[in-house]
């Protein structure tokens, strides 16, 4: 919601212009608006709070360096930033898959979720927390190609077209990976007794 707010009234371009002029407050606004969303995206790929923190910092360093390349005519700031963030996070994920010894996230850490308490009982909170942990553990067990597609489609809610552009692979491959990923995740969650008929 914060990210959406930052883009209302077409102020993304104005924010970037102020950043380029060296206005620290404008850059701080961008950081505050998007850091949580980018951190969560990084966490879904790394499964580690520490690794996600490091990755989020790297993403913002890159964003800061490439602000000059932002062109408001090619879309709003939110889309541009998140596209850049996704590219970097997926690149990092692919790199870690190729070099597992560098992986900071092979073990699922015991980070506990701090869920919003509004309108939910303590019991429901515990159940939701448990569910979220199990979904992340299930996603971690997917093969890398399937995992990427499931996160982008069912959590990030990108369209098939956006995933095709992001991963630079044919649409048929994207569809097939999403389908296979969903089935595998459902089977994993069934074994974990998360989804049962």
């Amino acid at each position: 919601m914060e990210a959406v707010k930052a883009d209302t009234n077409n102020n993304g371009a104005e924010l970037v212009r102020r950043c380029r002029a060296g206005d620290g407050a404008a850059w701080e606004e961008i950081v505050q608006s998007y850091s949580r969303r980018i951190f969560n995206l990084a966490y879904r790929f790394t499964s580690s709070v520490e690794a996600a923190e490091d990755l989020t910092q790297e993403v913002f360093v890159r964003i800061h360096k490439t602000l000059d390349q932002y062109d408001p005519k090619q879309g709003n700031l939110s889309n541009w930033l998140m596209r850049l963030a996704r590219n970097l996070i997926i690149d990092d994920y692919r790199h870690r898959q190729r070099n597992p010894q560098n992986s900071m996230a092979d073990t699922v850490d015991k980070h506990s979720f701090h869920l919003r308490a509004v309108g939910t009982s303590a019991q429901k909170q515990v159940e939701r927390r448990e569910l979220c942990n199990q979904v992340q553990q299930g996603i971690d067990k997917l093969p890398p190609d399937l995992r990427t597609c499931v996160i982008l489609r069912d959590i990030e809610e990108l369209t098939y077209r956006e995933i095709v552009d992001l991963l630079a692979i044919p649409e048929g491959t994207v569809k097939s990976r999403i389908n296979r990923g969903r089935i595998e995740l459902a089977k994993i969650l069934r074994r974990m007794r998360v989804v049962e008929i």
Partner: protein
């Protein structure tokens, strides 16, 4: 047995049939109906027909699947070549959920879902799994303590970003960047080209005056004519 068993006729049997099936009659009448159905072949047949009809009506009233198990079994036996393999079933699952499965494939897919014990629960599980992902998306992790400050520190060198004000030069640069925007409008491109050409041309003329410009143009025209004439006459320099 009290030796005085109640007897009923076919008309009474028909009249009380519904109550008999609903077990709404008293014990003696219930026994009399059962006894008559065993003695009278016509009423026995009628009883069976009504029972079958009621069972069929129940199936219609609760369609758990579009394709009933019986129908699926009949189709499997009569046209086995149209049966779907489990791999094919799984490959089409997302298309089925998205509603993009062609009609012919749709019916084969549903038939497999009804008949195959190992696949029958899969669609429901996938739907629940997608719902679980959505719940997970809604419950975002909170931002770790101090992360924003660390980002500010490594990008702009301070955590107190508001103290960082744009310099006069950078403000001027942004101001120029803003006013150049209208020139980028395509309709004004020819005007910009003409201005550029004029600037280049004036730069080559003596002093940039109108008189000097005229003198220079006469010289250039003379040179061009001379070069053209030499080319036509085939004269080498």
């Amino acid at each position: 047995m009290n030796g005085r068993e109640k007897k009923i006729g076919c008309n009474a049997f028909e009249e009380n049939l519904t109550d008999y099936l609903d077990r709404a009659l008293d014990g003696e009448s219930q026994r009399a109906m059962a006894s008559h159905s065993l003695e009278c072949p016509l009423c026995h047949s009628l009883l069976n027909d009504v029972k079958d009809t009621l069972a069929a009506c129940k199936e219609i009233a609760s369609p758990e699947n579009h394709l009933t198990g019986l129908e699926a079994k009949i189709l499997e036996r009569t046209i086995p070549e149209s049966a779907m393999r489990c791999e094919e079933f799984e490959d089409s699952l997302t298309d089925y959920l998205d509603g993009f499965l062609p009609a012919t494939l749709f019916h084969r897919w549903e038939r497999h879902a009804v008949l195959c014990e190992s696949c029958t629960d899969l669609p429901g599980e996938v739907v629940r799994s997608i719902a679980a992902c959505y719940t997970y998306k809604l419950d975002e992790l909170p931002l770790p303590e101090g992360l924003n400050e660390r980002i500010l520190e490594i990008t702009i060198g301070t955590t107190v970003a508001s103290e960082l004000k744009p310099s006069a030069i950078s403000r001027l640069k942004e101001w120029i960047w803003e006013i150049k925007v209208p020139i980028a409008v395509p309709q004004l491109a020819p005007v910009a080209m003409m201005l550029l050409f004029a600037a280049l041309f004036f730069g080559q003329t003596g002093g940039g005056s109108i008189g000097g410009m005229y003198q220079k143009s006469v010289e250039l025209a003379g040179q061009t004519y001379q070069q053209g004439a030499e080319m036509v006459l085939g004269k080498d320099n």
